[in-house]
């Protein structure tokens, strides 16, 4: 009989440097991820431009918040809820 434990190593913790969008969902899952990683790459995360990363993050968050209602159908729930 074997037992297993799950631990998070510092290396694993560093794999996802993006802020959590909500509990249980990291920036890579679901529809909330958007194009953040590509934007950060272009904005120069490696170059140490924190301002560039934050500006890109903010702009991407704005886009994700806006698209939900601007696109056709919005976020109307089927059948009234």
């Amino acid at each position: 009989m074997s037992t297993s434990t799950t631990t998070t190593s510092p290396e694993q913790a560093r794999e996802n440097p993006y802020p959590l969008l909500e509990p249980g969902t990291n920036s890579e899952s679901g529809t909330a991820g958007g194009l953040l990683s590509a934007l950060i790459e272009i904005a120069g995360a490696e170059g140490g431009s924190l301002y560039g990363v934050l500006a890109a993050w903010q702009r991407e968050q704005d886009r994700l918040a806006n698209r939900g209602w601007r696109r056709p159908g919005g976020m109307i729930r089927p059948a009234g809820l």
Binding site: L21, E22, G24, T25, S29, G30, T31, A32, G33, G34, L35, S37, A38, L39, E41, I42, A43, G44, G47, S49, G52, R59, R63, L64, A65, R67, G68, W69, R70, R71, P72, G73, G74, M75, I76, R77, P78, A79, G80, L81
Partner: protein
């Protein structure tokens, strides 16, 4: 890009004052994301584009220019650029952050007033609304895919500053479990040779299997039965154009007659909605209540699932970019969720309706498809979107349909009767209008006098005149001469 053989065509809109320019930007894309949604069809597209010199004029990337993302002859996304942003970064030069909205966004272009005092079918209403906008609507005028089953129900709606999109939401809701989408027309093409946008509306099909995802195809999932959509009693308040306010209640037959759980899958929970903003008859309100009851009386789910591969219903591999909303995904692995292990697709257990597909492709080679199934997960962005849609509609509204006073709330109003030279015993009457209309017919009125002179009897409500809209009140003159009664009335039992 092009790892998945996608071509991103951008072209100047048909009818634009400059000549047609069409360019395939597929090779220049750094990252791409697009969605399809139900209701809605093509949702939105965002991409990051690195060009040798982004400052060169490119009319095909301008506002309202068209975009078509195609895989061979298959149209993955078709829409128009909405926010093409040119960004100059000191470290990395220029890039373009482009976003586009699906063709269905054109349904929002024209909020207008319309009323249908004569009962009309949903198909008739949509045909009339399309025909009014025929000269400028960007969608294909072919309505053959709109309600092909010809539902016979008729409606008498009043649309106050409604866009075509809101009219579609209203009618598909009133018909029951119906859905609308805007996808590419199967045969019609525009001046540039790309498919036009076609409106489709039909009953939601949750039984046909369109796509299949096996265990190896799935990157991650989150399956949550949703308490928010578990109701077994539905009450709908409505305002009939003639008979006035009313409400209907329908309940799950598995509940006990006294509301005890009985054989129902969960305890008694009531969903109540006021649809009093629009004229509805009791029959229509009952149909809506029954449609909601059918949708909510068994537990439903909010499911997010991310795929790295997908198959068609027969199990043949299918590109991820071909998956679209308003179809069903069969996940055989989830059969264990059923009360009995099912051997085939079972809606709500291992087969789910796709309400949003989100395809993402990164420069690193990462391609994935995130699906929202059965219902949206309640993120902040979903809540914000619904609030913004509601607020936008509120700002457009010019009036209200017919305000109704809450049931049981007493209404106080002013009443005055004055007649010079009445004869002795003469009966004098006045009409009383309840504003707003009461929820029920009151049992009577009580009166508080401010001034009275020469009153023999009254004021009293004339028999058989009481309605939720008002009644008649009379007094009699005690003797010949001037009669005066002023005061207030208070409704009882409404």
């Amino acid at each position: 890009m092009r790892r998945d053989t996608l071509a991103l065509w951008a072209y100047t809109p048909p009818g634009a004052p400059y000549p047609l320019v069409a360019t395939d930007y597929g090779a220049h894309i750094e990252a791409l994301e697009f969605t399809t949604v139900a209701p809605g069809g093509f949702g939105d597209l965002a991409c990051i584009l690195k060009l040798p010199d982004a400052r060169l004029p490119r009319p095909e990337l301008g506002l309202f220019s068209r975009v078509a993302l195609r895989d061979g002859l298959f149209t993955c996304f078709s829409g128009e650029w909405s926010d093409p942003a040119l960004v100059l970064d000191s470290a990395h030069g220029e890039y373009m952050m482009l976003s586009a909205l699906g063709g269905g966004a054109a349904l929002r272009d024209d909020p207008d007033d319309a009323a249908y005092p004569t009962a009309t079918t949903a198909q008739g209403i949509l045909a009339a609304e399309f025909s009014r906008r025929a000269s400028y609507l960007a969608l294909d005028s072919d309505l053959s895919a709109v309600l092909p089953s010809h539902p016979a129900n008729t409606y008498t709606p009043v649309y106050d500053g409604y866009t075509l999109e809101e009219i579609l939401h209203d009618l598909t809701g009133a018909l029951g479990d119906y859905i609308w989408t805007v996808y590419e027309h199967p045969t019609h093409t525009d001046a540039a040779g790309f498919p036009t946008w076609q409106l489709r509306a039909h009953q939601r099909d949750t039984t046909t299997t369109h796509y299949l995802a096996l265990g190896a195809d799935i990157l991650e999932w989150r399956v949550a039965p949703s308490m928010q959509r578990a109701y077994n009693v539905v009450q709908v308040a409505y305002v009939d154009p003639v008979a006035g306010p009313g409400s209907v209640t329908v309940s799950d037959a598995r509940l006990g007659p006294d509301g005890a759980q009985g054989n129902a899958p969960f305890r008694r929970r009531k969903l109540r909605r006021n649809l009093g903003d629009l004229p509805l008859t009791a029959t229509q309100a009952t149909a809506i209540a029954n449609a909601w009851l059918a949708a909510y009386s068994n537990p439903s789910n909010k499911i997010e699932i991310t795929l790295r591969a997908v198959r068609d219903a027969s199990g043949n591999p299918l590109p991820l970019s071909h998956v679209r909303a308003d179809a069903n995904l069969f996940v055989p692995e989830l059969a264990v969720r059923g009360q009995r292990l099912s051997s085939g697709p079972q809606p709500g257990v291992n087969q789910f309706y796709i309400i949003e597909s989100s395809y993402r492709e990164m420069a690193s080679g990462d391609v994935r498809l995130a699906l929202q199934l059965d219902n949206y997960a309640d993120r902040g962005e979903a809540l914000l979107a619904r609030l913004q849609i509601a607020d936008e509609a509120r700002q457009r509204r010019r009036g209200i349909y017919r305000p109704v006073q809450s049931a049981g709330a007493q209404q106080v109003g002013y009443l005055s009767i004055r007649a010079p030279g009445a004869s002795a015993g003469q009966r004098l009457g006045v009409g009383v209008n309840f504003v707003p209309v009461l929820s029920n017919t009151p049992t009577g009125l009580t009166f508080t006098v401010i001034t009275s002179a020469n009153i023999g009897s009254g004021p009293v409500v004339t028999a058989n005149t009481m309605t939720p809209y008002g009644c008649e009140v009379t007094v009699t003159a005690a003797a010949a001469g001037n009669v005066v009664w002023t005061g207030t009335y208070t409704t009882q039992g409404a």
